[in-house]
Subunit: 407 residues, 2 copies
Amino acid sequence: MEYIKGGVTAAAGFEAAVCEANIKYKDRTDMAMVFSKEPCVCAGTFTSNVVKAACVMWDKEIVESGRPVHGVVINSGIANACTGKEGYDACEATARAFEAKLGVPYNTVAVASTGVIGMQLPVDKLTTGVGLMAEKLSDSIEAGTEASKAIMTTDTVNKEIAVTFEAGGKKITLGGMSKGSGMIHPNMCTMLGFLTTDLSIEKALLQEALKEVVTDTFNMISVDGDTSTNDTLLILSNGLAGNETIQEKNEDYAEFKNALFEVCRFLARKMASDGEGATKLFTAHVLNAKTKEDARVLARSVISSSLSKAAVYGCDANFGRFLCAMGYSGVNFDQTDVELYFESKAGELKVFEYGVPLAFDEDFATKILSEEEVIIRIDMHEGEEEATAWGCDLTYDYVKINADYRS
Amino acid sequence: MEYIKGGVTAAAGFEAAVCEANIKYKDRTDMAMVFSKEPCVCAGTFTSNVVKAACVMWDKEIVESGRPVHGVVINSGIANACTGKEGYDACEATARAFEAKLGVPYNTVAVASTGVIGMQLPVDKLTTGVGLMAEKLSDSIEAGTEASKAIMTTDTVNKEIAVTFEAGGKKITLGGMSKGSGMIHPNMCTMLGFLTTDLSIEKALLQEALKEVVTDTFNMISVDGDTSTNDTLLILSNGLAGNETIQEKNEDYAEFKNALFEVCRFLARKMASDGEGATKLFTAHVLNAKTKEDARVLARSVISSSLSKAAVYGCDANFGRFLCAMGYSGVNFDQTDVELYFESKAGELKVFEYGVPLAFDEDFATKILSEEEVIIRIDMHEGEEEATAWGCDLTYDYVKINADYRS
């Protein structure tokens, strides 16, 4: 596997475009479109929130129908959630504008929205935007990068990645972009993410690979414990690489799944470290747990704890809060089996050993906690399973950003 | 039922005292003691956190043993959690100092701690403190008030209440105090609370009444989603009021349970409104849910959501966040059945009606949200059950307090 430049337009046959539709933001792009003339096999994972945005319902229907997919239209600013029938009609109008311009059936066009919940989308601006973008579609690397910028809300950096790998003697490209900074919490997937590949693969296997990879990547991040109404991750594969279609879990499938894991892990970590107001990536690595699910739950509970996140912000080695968060996670364990370490570029420090707090050098602890990525390593000594979760610190800026998000 | 002045010393036969033990805080009281010469029936509820503080394990043993109880010793500053055998020995040493001074068996003395997790208690300071306090025991109202102050950590106000009611022709007094400001989240009970009464009641009924009342009071508050390692609620009843011992769920039991509910509700609301950094009490009132448990879960999810809490701080009527929090609560419902209202002293405003956002006056919404208690009323239109949960807003000060709690 090799990392290459680019994102959603890296794979063969994928084009993108953006525009300034002025939906809520001014003086910036706020719509993006991805298009593949070649029909794509499409898999997706969606929010587990009972209150699903209109666009989530639209996309679920498309993914579940098994129809080929030709593209996706995304807007930032308004989430099209809690908008009733009017919201669903906005999805259809967007897809019909796509059909009118690009000649592919409207029910092969996915849509996604992110932003304020409980406001209606201005349909005329959306359809005008689709028209503008259809004229500007490009398969350049830059077009992909522009798309990853247009879908940002409170994100401070755009998020994209592309890799190549080999399957069936052919070079395959897989690229993607995502956005997400607040309302991020592991439960299905937790943001907007769009992956494109020229691989040829059967739909059922594509869906299975995506679901499995999401469990240990996007579902292992949290910014604030709030599972969004809009979380959507889609992967489109148009088969243009010319490999023999993957129809079973062979070596090619393993190669693809490995690449998919790396791409999703990269985007997930990037979202966690760009959490609203965040100054640090806060990683929990649980080792030697009884079961894989125990390891995941423990790691997620630690990076989701407000008190742990505030301690990381303050560079305070207040390890009791981490143990407390493990204790209420729902996993049963004996604290006298547990060892805790703080880790970063600056070094490593053991702070808790088999149920007993250790004396440690506070200055060194502060030094470790002052780095850009802080890892808490938790050795459960109860089994052989491990998991990693990624979050961020809780800062004044998180509060500031969210106290007046709508204004 | 009548509200009277006082707290933990209001009921007949209960004395209290405090001292400056300098455990972690300087220049303030940090130990308290409650004593009843008359042996008490004792019931308790404790944290559901797997990582339980040493004192929680000590008190659970006492409550479950069914032995009479003579009192409790409390310290603030260090939580005695994650402290292994040394921590448990500190509980015993404290109780033995109590026995030495007051002549009651050490295994009838409860202990409770609150503060930093993962530090050992200075045993000599504790036992010296017990000795000092034993000399100063008093049944005055002031002694109870002083106790409610000594157990504070990041609390900004002390929390106490007392009521009288009638049972079996006798006037019964019930009083109590609690502390709690951070690491507060509904799960069993979520703070330290001590209730005293001169009622005569059987232990099993006392325990049942306490457990039932906690479900709709202390278990319905949240400050930060972190369920503490130390949560303890104890009620001591010494029978000095002379009523015929309550042995069944008769009218006297109903009177008592009603008084207990009011006392617990008062203390719970007081803790929520004094949440770390809080500027407001944030109440969610769910009406017409399918089941009582649905109503509780929905109400708690709303007041626990970081994004909803930040919106309340910013006086931003961003009602989509409340719907989002309901949606990921685990309760299944149809958003097209739901109506949402904001409510406070300043008035009432409907913002969402059967799945559709309503246009509303933003200035009026801000006015409503600027009051000291803000209520979100949620009508599910799915059944007849209701529940109320209490939380607080998420502010810069919450982050500030918790970024360097240990220093």
